[in-house]
């Protein structure tokens, strides 16, 4: 176990917690969730289920979606991901980290003058493909990029 990982573990309370944190359940929260919050999607454990919850099953790959993110992230707790969609009439952008226990990290509904661009930072437990799922003009498109994680970050 390396030193940075140890420092990180100090914050998370040990190796067990690291694994457990990645598997954090949303189900048992008992909290009031926002009305339009995609509970099904956020609780899905498999990429296919996430896609289904978004209505994006069978989405096609598009070169008009650009993922800006590091090839190697130094800290899995803070992985910057920006998504640019050049697709006309971009309506929604989702960020999905395939190998996270709950892959769907965020969904952004774009309206009005909002451009097809969002930038955020997510936690990643391990090296994984990160998918951008974009709804444009009623259809779904995807792009993906592998991000290597040297220190996991599901705290």
């Amino acid at each position: 176990m390396n030193i940075a990982r140890r420092t990180f573990l100090k914050l998370t309370g040990g190796a067990g917690a690291l694994a457990a944190a990645c598997a954090a359940g949303l189900v048992s929260s008992g909290r009031v969730l926002a009305a339009n919050w995609n509970k099904t999607g956020f609780e899905s454990k498999a990429l296919a289920d996430v896609m289904k919850s978004l209505g994006a099953t069978g989405a096609t790959e598009s070169k008009d979606i650009i993922i800006t993110a590091p090839d190697i992230a130094e800290n899995g707790a803070v992985v910057p991901v920006a998504i640019t969609s050049k697709l006309p009439n971009t309506q929604q952008i989702s960020i999905v980290a395939e190998k996270n226990p709950f892959p769907l990290a965020a969904t952004f509904d774009v309206s009005g003058g909002g451009e097809g661009y969002v930038s955020a930072r997510i936690k990643m437990g391990q090296t994984s493909d990160v998918w951008a799922v974009v709804k444009a003009d009623g259809k779904y498109f995807t792009a993906r990029k592998e991000i290597k994680i040297t220190v996991g970050g599901c705290g």
């Binding site: 040990g14 949303l26 919050w37 509904d109 909002g114 930072r121």
Partner: protein, 106 residues
């Protein structure tokens, strides 16, 4: 208690480049504190960004969004002096709204 956000909205041509920093623990509900107590789940679920009162971005987040979150977006058809409003709501019902005006590129 919800701390103020740090919002920058800078005009580039007719596009406002909006950058938002929020102070929030984004707890997964699995982390233990130094005393071994589980820190309850606490994370922002929704962030809504408005441009002169009209919603331009409506986001849904999971706890996989990093602590002290950042959100960047761009808004077309903006001009200096336009109002950009940001509201976040977390799973405990805490919320925070801040507003800035779009500034010309320096």
């Amino acid at each position: 208690m919800a701390e103020p956000m740090k919002i920058r909205a800078t005009l580039q041509g007719d596009v406002a480049d909006v950058r938002i920093l929020m102070l929030h623990p984004m707890e997964t509900g699995q982390r233990k504190d130094s005393k071994g107590q589980v820190v309850p789940m606490h994370f922002i679920q929704s962030v809504v960004v408005t441009h002169n009162g009209k919603t331009v971005l409506d986001t849904q987040w999971s706890q996989a969004v990093s602590r002290n979150p950042f959100l960047g977006l761009r808004i077309k058809g903006a001009k200096a002096g336009d109002k950009i409003g940001v509201t976040w709501v977390d799973n405990k019902g805490d919320k925070r709204t801040d507003e800035v005006t779009v500034t010309p590129a320096s």
